[in-house]
């Protein structure tokens, strides 16, 4: 039961990264690809009707994590107290910026929110990456099942780690570059003309950065987290996951050259899926590895009682069917490129 919910939570987190990932990425390249007010309105319009729904995946994944692995939720969220508070503030700023930007047509109101949107998206990408880095590296859990990490200590991987050290910063940079690529491909797909062209170029440049960072971080991960090698050794079928990541990553560049915007974006989705499943596969059965492996939280010692988890399976499946229907409906309704004229706010209405 623990393993099933481990997979289901992983699916929800992956959905969050794929979906909110493109709108975070769109934010992180916002000021780079769109120069005029009108171009920036187009970038915001590509995510306007969907960003809120995308972010719900974070809340829903959080809620599901809470109910399936209460001990992990308690330990992880209190241990990552400071970065999570900062993430919350960034989410508040970002949501406010997207929603309020178009309320007033003023030469200082709009650029202000554009900048807030850009900066909060960029920092969120880095923080989410660093958080993932912390999970892979392991945290200083002790026998009580708790830990507390300050934002940083000496940036080394000793006994007293901070949220930010050289490894987690590298993962943060990788996440930022990867999301810039992902967001660039999304904006390219959803806009016309100069914005679309610039977004494609940014994605293409970010691709090279992602290439380097993926190699560096993957190498470091094998050294830092022995469980990863052990898992791939035990279940060689798992190699299919990193292979998916590598193949789809190559496909991103290939499709960019062929100017197939849709396939390039889908390949990027597959890259994220491959990377995330590789990580999840690599740390299993741990849900939160400890620096001292004896204290790690696992699918067994962090899960809730089986009765609740079984009941949960029923409503979770029903809920996800409904969610799929909503998302297919909304994305189809807002399908196609956003309009270049402001009279029809974004969606050709």
């Amino acid at each position: 039961m623990g393993t099933i919910w481990f997979c289901l939570v992983a699916v929800m987190v992956a959905m969050y990264v794929l979906l909110d990932g493109f709108d975070l990425g769109a934010g992180a390249i916002h000021l780079l690809v769109a120069r005029t007010n009108e171009e920036r309105r187009q970038v915001i319009a590509t995510i306007g009707p969907v960003w809120d729904g995308n972010e719900v995946w974070l809340l829903a994944a959080g809620g599901t994590l809470y109910f399936a692995f209460p001990a992990l939720y308690a330990s992880g969220f209190s241990g990552f107290y400071l970065p999570l508070m900062i993430v919350l503030w960034l989410l508040i700023l970002r949501g406010t910026a997207v929603e309020f930007r178009n309320h007033i047509q003023s030469p200082i109101w709009i650029p202000f929110w554009d900048f807030v949107f850009f900066l909060s998206s960029l920092l969120l990408a880095v923080f989410f990456g660093a958080a993932l880095g912390n999970v892979v590296r392991g945290v200083p859990l002790d026998q009580t099942g708790y830990f507390f990490e300050p934002l940083w200590t000496n940036f080394r991987l000793g006994a007293h780690t901070g949220i930010l050290d050289w490894f987690t910063i590298l993962v943060g940079v990788q996440a930022l570059l990867a999301l810039m690529m992902h967001g660039g491909l999304w904006v390219q797909l959803k806009t016309h003309g100069a914005v679309s062209e610039r977004a494609g170029k940014v994605a293409g440049k970010a691709w090279w950065g992602v290439l380097v960072m993926t190699a560096v971080v993957t190498g470091a991960t094998f050294v830092l987290q022995p469980q990863v090698i052990a898992n791939f050794h035990t279940w060689p079928a798992g190699y299919v996951l990193p292979l998916l990541a590598v193949a789809s990553f190559a496909a991103v560049q290939f499709e960019l050259h062929r100017k197939n915007e849709r396939n390039a974006f889908l390949a990027s989705c597959a890259y994220f899926l491959g990377m995330l499943t590789s990580v999840v596969f690599g740390v299993y059965p741990m849900v939160l590895p400890a620096r001292n492996p004896a204290f790690s939280l696992t699918v067994q010692n962090a899960k809730a009682a089986d009765y609740g988890l079984k009941i949960g399976l029923i409503w979770w499946v029903i809920g996800m069917v409904l969610v799929t229907v909503y998302f297919v409906y909304v994305y189809r309704l807002f399908a196609g490129k956003v309009s270049e004229t402001p009279d029809s706010p974004g969606h050709g209405d």
């Binding site: 399936a68 692995f69 107290y81 508040i92 949501g95």
Partner: protein, 453 residues
């Protein structure tokens, strides 16, 4: 531990109180929007569609702030209340996760359609979009109230061999009798916020002699729905809540009422200041025997006072609890009077000319916010010293490793950020009201000078 615990409590109290300023209007307006859309559909009168579009703009601003201030609530269960989460997550995680999966996706998907898709969806489709937004927000309300109700009155759980709390019956968690009454009471409070705000905007238009037809529609809808909600708020929902508290949380009832001494034929305190140290109510203005009657339907029934309860089981903020409860009940009574009088004048065809009544309606807009806040403070302070009533004390619920310094850091951060959000809300909502339901016809539809600040 003491000082960190206090900051954790203040942190949650501040963020949740602030957050709930938005959902109460969202949930109340969602119902009123469905009514407006229904009227438009039934009468075929475009006036109601325009009215709905006007309120949809305010709804959108309010909803956005409800979302961004709501995300920290779910996080805080883990960040600030780790021991509580570890103990209870297997039970109340059910309702919280269901809220995300069933309500938030529904709301967020259909809100976009409701706000931007009117032309594309057509008349019937747009009504459904409004209905699904309403359904999502009201379902979300239920799942949150059910979570709180479990903390007030735990049902459907068992203790396992190691003393941990486990879910034993899903349906007893979901259909907790406490949740049903608390939900009804809570939603009526939200409806009253929606009604008072709508009526206040209508009264503002009538008093300033602009958008008269809209002003009359808003006032009429606000007071008709408002009087129903105000009455149901008292009886049966408030009444039953009181009886549940008397039965299950006797210490809470005694503290709420400022009843220090157990007695037969207990009086109901209308005014007075509790002196907890001397264990008495100063300057009491009381209705004799009323508390006994209201609680047990018997004029000389015995009511437990605080003296019958060990001090370590007393709520720890008795004064605040007493005032919260009295503010809630006092305002609730005023709401019935205001709404009933308005409906009476409406029936006599005098309401729209009675400027004094319109003044009262306009100035009353902040009051339901205060009453709803006081109501939740009564529920939360009343549950003390328990976090989960009878199972887990608040002192054992906080995150063991998160020190006071870190909690102050984030609390101050939230205070600063929420100050900015308050200014934005006031500014943007006032701007929509000022532009009115027909901005294309308004004399000054351009930018307000404030926009340049």
């Amino acid at each position: 531990m003491g000082s960190a615990l206090d900051v954790h409590r203040l942190h949650f109290a501040f963020t949740v109180t602030y957050h709930y300023l938005f959902p109460q209007l969202t949930m109340g307006l969602a119902l009123l929007l469905v009514i407006l859309k229904t009227l438009a559909l039934r009468t075929g009168d475009e006036h109601y569609n325009r009215a709905a579009r006007f309120w949809a703009k305010i709804f959108g601003i309010n909803f956005a702030l409800g979302v961004v201030t709501g995300i920290p609530m779910e996080f805080q269960f883990g960040t600030n209340w780790a021991e509580f989460s570890k103990a209870a997550g297997g039970v109340i995680g059910q309702t919280l996760a269901m809220e995300g999966v069933f309500s938030f996706f529904l709301e967020s998907s259909f809100l976009g359609l409701f706000l931007y898709g009117e032309k594309r969806l057509g008349r019937i489709g747009h009504w459904w979009a409004a209905f699904f937004v309403f359904l999502g927000s009201w379902m979300s309300g239920y799942l949150i109230v059910a979570t709180n109700a479990w903390m007030q009155h735990p049902t459907g759980y068992r203790l396992n061999a190691s003393g941990g709390i486990e879910l034993a019956s899903y349906w007893r968690l979901i259909l907790n009798p406490w949740a049903l009454w608390q939900y009804a009471h809570n939603m009526l409070g939200a409806v009253q916020t929606g009604c008072f705000v709508m009526a206040a905007v209508g009264a503002f238009y009538l008093l300033t002699k602009r958008d008269l037809r809209y002003g009359r529609t808003f006032v009429r809808l606000g007071v008709i729905v408002g009087v129903i909600a105000a009455l149901l708020q008292l009886v049966p929902t408030g009444d039953f809540q009181g009886k549940m508290i008397a039965e299950n949380q006797p210490a809470t009832l005694a503290a709420m009422e400022g009843l220090f001494v157990s007695q037969e034929g207990a009086p109901l305190a209308i005014l007075g200041q509790p002196d907890v140290e001397k264990r008495r109510l100063d300057n009491p203005l009381e209705l004799p025997r009323m508390l006994s009657f209201l609680t047990y339907e018997h004029w000389s029934a015995h009511v437990q006072g605080l003296d019958a309860i060990p001090v370590n089981q007393w709520p720890d903020k008795i004064e605040l609890l007493y005032y919260s409860y009295h503010v809630m009940v006092g305002l609730g009574t005023i709401f019935i009077a205001v709404m009933a009088l308005s409906v009476f004048l409406l029936w006599r065809n005098k309401l729209f000319e009675s400027r004094w009544m319109l003044w009262i309606l306009m100035l009353s807009a902040p009051l339901p916010y205060i009453a709803n806040t006081a109501g939740w403070m009564t529920a939360e302070l009343g549950r003390q010293p328990w976090l989960i009533y009878g199972l887990l004390r608040t002192i054992h619920g906080a995150s063991p490793r998160v020190g006071a310094g870190n909690v102050w850091f984030s609390l101050l951060g939230f205070m600063g950020m929420y100050t900015v959000l308050s200014i934005l809300w006031l500014f943007l909502v006032y701007r929509e009201i000022e532009r009115g339901p027909e901005p294309e016809n308004a004399q000054h539809a351009g930018e307000t000078p404030l926009a340049a600040d």
